[in-house]
């Protein structure tokens, strides 16, 4: 099911590129003529940075662009600093590409002074990361239903979640809204710290991406009670969805994609779309996705813009910050 959807998206994304060949002369297809700057609005070494380095490596090694491409980390302010740099120094410059993700979208919702996605032209989503409800391996709850029943049988906020960032907080909020129970929430610096708190028994549950929890899932130090997804995640086929367990939770995944500066001409955006479609299709990227237990999800151009619009609505709704 998932596979067909994924390959469909891949095919769809490849069409403009393949189709561009005969039309190239008519449209004078854009190609980069000088060094391209790849802006990563996150610190070196983090998850977003690693993805950027993989994409960079693929573009360079498979010679997907005819010019050199330089990485530039501009971390800070949940992505706002890097995108502020692009706005100030690289306005409408098609020789610039930027990595964007869910965090960049959340930052301006909470801090209106920070402007992020409104300042770039989203080109293509490349991957999606799932959220799962984790509890300790020896916890008494078999599934999410048990967990919710336990939460409801005790005074409100008796069960505590450790979260490692705003996206985790939103997953807990979705869960609370869908199940009608109240939970306590403790915020930590990273998913790793949240996991440590769960292993130490200081909190009862975590919402996390499969990556950080996989080793502990395999050794049964933690167990997964449910996934925020419309259909089961093939890699973790025995984890039921929230919907299956009777909770009306929307599909919730962390997205990561690529953008160019606002005002990039259409032909340049199409060029980059083609490049990123090839990146996603490359074996190195597939291996990366498999190792990170994520889902390759190339969503090109207009579809990506629509996807982001829906995500923004969902985030604003969850955070109680209407536009």
């Amino acid at each position: 099911m998932m596979l067909t959807r994924r390959s469909l998206l891949l095919a769809a994304s490849a069409v403009p590129f393949v189709g561009a060949v005969p039309r190239a002369s008519a449209q004078a297809g854009w190609v980069p003529t000088r060094e391209v700057e790849f802006v990563v609005p996150f610190a070196t070494g983090g998850g977003a940075d690693l993805l950027a380095r993989v994409i960079h490596k693929i573009i360079v090694e498979e010679k997907l662009v005819p010019v050199p491409i330089a990485l530039n980390n501009r971390p800070g302010g949940g992505g706002a600093t890097g995108i502020g740099y692009v706005t100030a120094r690289k306005a409408a410059d098609p020789h610039t590409i930027v990595l964007v993700n869910g965090t960049t979208q959340i930052t301006p919702i909470l801090n209106p002074a920070a402007r992020t996605l409104s300042e770039v032209r989203p080109v293509m989503n490349v991957m999606l990361d799932d959220f799962l409800l984790f509890v300790k391996g020896d916890a008494p709850w078999k599934d999410a239903k048990d967990f919710v029943a336990a939460a409801k049988s005790r005074p409100p906020k008796s069960l505590a979640f450790a979260t490692g960032g705003t996206t985790d907080v939103m997953a807990v909020t979705i869960f609370a809204k869908a199940t009608g129970a109240e939970y306590n929430m403790l915020n930590f610096n990273s998913g790793g710290e949240a996991l440590t708190q769960l292993l130490g028994g200081h909190v009862q549950a975590c919402m996390g991406n499969p990556l950080e929890f996989m080793g502990h899932l395999q050794s049964k130090a933690v167990k997964a009670l449910g996934v925020f997804r419309d259909t089961r995640f093939s890699v973790l086929g025995d984890v039921p969805t929230m919907k299956e367990q009777g909770f009306n939770a929307p599909n919730f995944q962390m997205w990561r994609g690529m953008a160019t500066p606002k005002g990039t001409p259409d032909d340049a955006a199409r060029y980059w779309e083609g490049v990123f479609a090839k990146v996603v299709a490359s074996p190195v990227f597939r291996a990366y996705i498999a190792e990170n237990i994520a889902t390759a999800a190339p969503i090109p151009g207009a579809a990506f813009a629509k996807f982001l619009e829906d995500q923004e609505k969902l985030y604003r709704n969850l955070l109680d910050k209407p536009a």
Partner: protein, 495 residues
């Protein structure tokens, strides 16, 4: 006995020419980035990561671990010689280390740092080898209340680090206050950022450190009307007496560093602060501190090295990051298709033991490399200061810029540098301000997390045993000087 067998296998794996080369390359690169302010081991590892894709994971992890502990050696160099801490964990070293350099004892300071780091690195690698799984499980007992209590204990040092108690408390409070700038981790909403994007992440620790110590020192030394006496470099290595003074601080520092390093939310920086304070508290004559006490170099330097090995404990035994740098090494493991988790020690025993063996080798390489270098680098101080300080300023600018590639950070460097000069001029200690900034974030987060966990009751700090013991230690630390002052007149009549 299986330890000996495993370790022998590890040495066999680590001693291949290629892995030895990786180990050497790692500690050498680590030493270099450690000496440069702003650029730290995490950036260096991230830079090298794409080059190692497809390589043997063991060699890559040997390289990365080498960068990590090598950086702790390198940070000392610039702290001692030019009062610019290359790494956050070398701040305490620059207090007494730089004073020693001014007295012509730079060789001794660098030498004892190298020896102390070697001993601490080796002791803590033994600890990692023998105790990793039980220690990692013990570290899990640290929840928000325990971290809160640990930070309270650290904060009792605000007054102890500098000269005047009142001035130390004031600058420390200023550090706590600026730790509240930027996005509040508990709500995700910014405060005190004045709608400036570059303030959303707060005032960088590196920025403040390099400004107060590096630029502040340049401004006060270069401003002296009488030229600084040209330093003669007396001894290139620590004397017998200095070595004797440093033995216990090295052992204490190793222990403190290892334990603090194992805790996932604290690291080498906090470890070095605690080691310095402990040395000052146990010293017979605490007034020597800040004026070139070798214990003030030996303790923190051993401690930050031990912390680097300590941070590998939760990483290897539990698969959770013990620090920012080990988080990146974990990311690298995943790239190599190795799933970090509680079974790493069993499932990937060959890798773990080879890396451990390489850490012994790397520490020997660092010692061999650093002892001759200590004397060599100490010669730098023969250069008149007027030739030295303009490039120091340029180094501070480049280093601070490289931290986040941000020009605004460099402007903060200028402003806080001027503040650092004013503080030095009127004897306001800078170290408490750094301590406040470092501890402020974790103090506030752990307080709010604990209160949320306990549904608003402060009892949680006193009913949990580890937290209660740590808070009792903090109370003793605060009250002991007061009690001594009250009772001393009776004990020493006429005093």
């Amino acid at each position: 006995m299986s330890v000996i067998y495993d370790l022998a296998a590890g040495f066999a794996g680590a001693a291949t020419p290629w892995n030895l080369l990786m180990c050497f390359a790692g500690v050498f690169a680590g030493q270099l980035v450690g000496a440069l302010p702003g650029i730290g081991p995490s950036s260096a590892i991230a830079l090298l990561l794409p080059l190692t894709f497809g390589a043997d994971p063991t060699s890559a992890i040997i390289l990365f671990a080498g960068i990590y502990y090598g950086a702790q050696y390198g940070g000392t160099l610039t702290s001692v010689l030019i009062s610019v801490p290359g790494e956050p964990s070398s701040v305490m070293t620059s207090i007494d280390g730089y004073q020693m350099a001014l007295q012509g004892r730079a060789g001794a300071a660098l030498g004892i740092a190298a020896i102390g780091s070697f001993i601490a690195g080796t002791i803590s690698t033994v600890g990692l080898m023998l105790l990793a799984p039980p220690l990692a499980r013990a570290a899990l007992a640290f929840g928000p209340p325990e971290y809160f209590a640990l930070v309270v204990l650290g904060l009792t040092a605000l007054a102890a680090v500098g000269g005047s108690v009142l001035k130390g408390l004031t600058t420390g409070m200023f550090g706590l206050l600026i730790s509240t700038v930027g996005i509040d981790q508990q709500t995700g909403v910014a405060r005190f950022a004045f709608d400036r994007i570059w303030l959303l992440d707060g005032v960088g620790f590196v920025v403040l450190t390099v400004a107060l110590f590096g630029v502040g020192e340049v401004l006060s030394s270069a401003g002296m009307s009488t030229p600084r006496p040209i330093t003669t470099v007396k001894n290139l290595l620590p004397s017998r007496a200095e070595w004797k003074q440093s033995r216990m601080p090295i052992l204490r520092g190793s222990f403190i560093g290892f334990v603090v390093g194992v805790l996932p939310a604290t690291g080498a920086t906090i470890a070095s602060f605690i080691a310095y304070i402990v040395e000052k508290k146990v010293a017979k004559d605490p007034s020597r501190f800040g004026k070139g006490a070798i214990e003030g170099v030996a303790g923190p330097e051993s401690s930050n090295n031990a912390a680097a090995a300590g941070a590998m404990v939760p990483m290897l035994a539990l698969g959770v990051p013990g620090s920012g740098t080990t988080a990146i090494i974990l990311g690298a493991l995943i790239m190599f298709g190795i799933r970090p988790g509680p079974e790493l020690f069993d499932k990937n025993a060959a890798l773990v033991w080879t890396v451990i063996a390489s850490m012994y080798i790397g520490n020997v390489i660092l010692l061999v490399m650093n002892l001759p270098l200590a004397g060599l680098f100490a010669q730098l101080l023969r250069v008149p200061y007027s030739w030295l300080y303009p490039p120091i300023l340029a180094l501070c600018v480049a280093g601070v810029y490289s931290q986040a590639n941000s020009i605004e950070d460099v402007w903060m460097l200028v402003v806080f540098g001027a503040l650092g000069w004013a503080m030095m001029r009127y004897d306001w200690p800078a170290a408490p301000m750094i301590l406040g900034l470092v501890l402020g974030t974790i103090f506030e987060n752990s307080l709010r997390q604990s209160m949320t966990l306990s549904h608003g009751s402060v009892e949680i700090f006193f009913t949990r045993p580890i937290s209660a013991v740590l808070l009792a230690c903090a109370a003793v630390a605060v009250l002991s000087p007061v009690l001594v002052r009250i009772f001393r007149p009776r004990l020493v009549p006429g005093a």
